[in-house]
């Protein structure tokens, strides 16, 4: 991640925005809707593979679809709202429903045939082995 500290220092609007933000927060004003990245992912890597995990509580295996094209992994899924009958109502609704789609750029070329994915207790885990052709090769240095 890039830190543009120099730019931030010279931007007079930044401080004003910050104050505005603070006022909004104190008075509970509606903040502009921010597009949240869903699902949140964590990415682990080493030289030979990558593991991507994502939190998908309430998603059934059959409602999550993964596909890969080149270096881009696409996750799609949907979570249905429970059916409501007459006289039933929500006291609280903090969880979200609906569809999502997220594309993740992989750090290297992966062997498409060897990808494994599992969904356990609402946590998706995708193991992506690096393609043999993409692995770094150690070059021996010879002395003359």
């Amino acid at each position: 991640m890039l830190y543009s500290t120099f730019l931030q220092k010279t931007d007079p609007m930044r401080e004003l925005n910050r104050i505005q933000h603070e006022i909004d927060r104190l008075f509970g004003a509606e903040r502009p809707v921010k597009r949240k990245l869903f699902p949140p992912v964590n990415v682990w890597t080493n030289q030979d593979a990558a593991i991507i995990s994502a939190e998908l509580p309430g998603f059934d295996m059959k409602d999550v679809h993964l596909s890969i094209v080149g270096n881009e992994l696409t996750m799609k899924g949907k979570r249905e709202m429970p059916e409501m009958k007459d006289g039933e109502f929500f006291h609280r609704r903090e969880r979200s429903y609906g569809e999502f789609e997220r594309i993740i750029q992989l750090p290297f070329v992966v062997d498409h045939a060897k990808i494994e994915a599992s969904l356990t207790d609402g946590v998706l885990k995708i193991a992506l082995p690096r393609a043999e052709s993409d692995k770094p090769i150690n070059i021996e240095i010879k002395s003359n």
Binding site: K36, N42, T45, N46, P82, F89, R95, L119, D121
Partner: protein
């Protein structure tokens, strides 16, 4: 980085009551839906990756508490390159307004969601006192 915090969906519990925890690590507020039907109150809480055996639901007086532990996942020989979410335990408590039949509370955990079904207690029936003529 200031913006990043808001993108994380899980909300860290601000103050875990007044009782301190012995386990270290972060505690999150599970997001919940609370639905009321004619006979029951149903609560759904998003708690991905929880160890089923650690889920602890208690009802004391009118306070319903949910606790669950999450075993942090560590992949040997891998480095965490990029992170959008953190893993930690879950804790949240609610005050119940309606009378709940404590003995009939049911709990289930599926696909990372805890479902609690709290049947409403039947209202006490008025007692009729018979007058016996002597």
């Amino acid at each position: 980085m200031a913006d990043k915090k808001e993108e994380i969906q899980k909300k860290e519990a601000e103050a875990v009551d007044t009782v301190e925890r012995t386990r270290s690590g972060k505690v999150f507020f599970p997001l919940v839906d609370i639905m009321e039907t004619e006979k029951e109150i149903i609560l759904f809480a998003d708690m991905p990756g929880v160890d089923k055996k650690s889920i602890d639901v208690t009802l004391e007086k009118d306070v319903l508490s949910i606790d669950a532990n999450v075993q942090p996942v560590v992949y040997d020989d891998f480095e965490l390159d990029y992170a959008e979410y953190e893993v930690g335990d879950f804790h949240r408590s609610f005050t119940l307004n309606d009378n709940v039949d404590q003995k009939k509370i049911r709990a289930g955990y599926k696909n990372g969601v805890l479902q609690l079904t709290l049947p409403k207690a039947e209202p006490e029936k008025p007692k009729r006192i018979k007058i016996v003529e002597e």
